[in-house]
């Protein structure tokens, strides 16, 4: 029980990318994703004596997801238009986006915005399964829901995403 200083540094090294990715996929904002990632690790550091080392990754992801959900509820804004060309200024140009380097920008942006349109529980399930590539068992631990419910949430989420993206992509 408990996480030492050295082990904590190793956990940061191993998982800060994945936590950031999870937060970014949930929130779609680099700044918010950074804040959520940092806050998640700060909480782990604060409660390091109470968290089991083996459960640290699950604990971190659950904390990050809860923070994302809190943030999304505080925002309460309408989702942005799916097609980046629909709006006057493109977010791609405004944001110093690391995706730019390796991905097709418009496709990524539309995908992200499509994720924004999913209800939170489907979004989290789909991201953990298809982006983070976690098993249903792990996802069920993180979300605190039964495996069968998680499977059903992932399927429903994918179906909704397909429906949203159908007019733009061959999905």
């Amino acid at each position: 029980m408990g996480i030492g200083r050295k082990r904590f540094t190793e956990i940061v090294e191993e998982s800060y990318r994945s936590i950031y990715r999870l937060a970014f996929s949930m929130l779609g904002s680099e700044q918010d994703a950074c804040d959520v990632t940092q806050e998640s690790f700060e909480r782990l550091w604060r409660y390091r004596s109470k968290v089991d080392e083996r459960a640290a990754y699950v604990w971190l992801r659950r904390t990050a997801l809860n923070l994302c959900v809190d943030l999304l509820r505080r925002r309460k804004t309408e989702p942005e238009p799916l097609d980046p060309n629909d709006e006057g200024s493109s977010l791609i140009e405004m944001r110093p986006d690391p995706l730019r380097r390796c991905l097709r920008k418009e496709e990524m942006l539309m995908l992200r915005r499509a994720l924004d349109r999913l209800p939170e529980k489907y979004r989290a399930a789909v991201i953990l399964r298809d982006v983070e590539d976690l098993s249903y068992k792990e996802i069920s631990q993180i979300l605190g829901r039964p495996e069968n419910t998680v499977k059903s949430d992932v399927l429903r989420g994918r179906r909704m995403l397909r429906k949203i993206l159908a007019p733009y992509f061959d999905v």
């Binding site: 800060y16 950074c34 550091w45 690391p98 995706l99 991905l103």
Partner: protein, 115 residues
């Protein structure tokens, strides 16, 4: 759909995020520990210095009190000394007077008897 979503795996955090996390957790804690240690050391040194200077002050006061006591003691003891000195002086003067009177009487006796 899975394949498309898997593209999101390529998302990379901005540079410096790891440093930021470590700075706000492990390193901050180390910094706090250093500051706490430095504060504790400063308090100990301050206390020691305070005690030392306070001790000096108290010692000085004590020395002053002792000096005053000593002076008073000297004053008290000097009175009997003065009196005794006066008595001694009076005694000496009296002796000298007596001696001179005896000497003059002796001279008169010698004159009278024609010695």
């Amino acid at each position: 759909m899975r394949e498309m979503l898997s593209q999101l795996r390529d998302i990379e955090p901005p540079e410096g995020l790891k440093e930021r996390i470590l700075l706000s957790t492990v390193r901050r804690s180390r910094l706090y520990r250093l500051v706490a240690l430095a504060s504790a050391a400063a308090i100990v040194v301050g206390l020691a210095l305070g005690l030392f200077l306070g001790g000096l002050f108290v010692g000085q006061n004590q020395a002053q009190k002792e000096a005053v006591k000593l002076l008073e003691g000297i004053r008290q003891t000097s009175r009997p000394l003065e009196e005794s000195s006066m008595m001694l002086l009076e005694a000496i003067v009296l002796t000298m007077k007596t001696t001179s009177m005896v000497q003059s009487q002796d001279e008169e006796v010698v004159k009278d008897e024609g010695i």
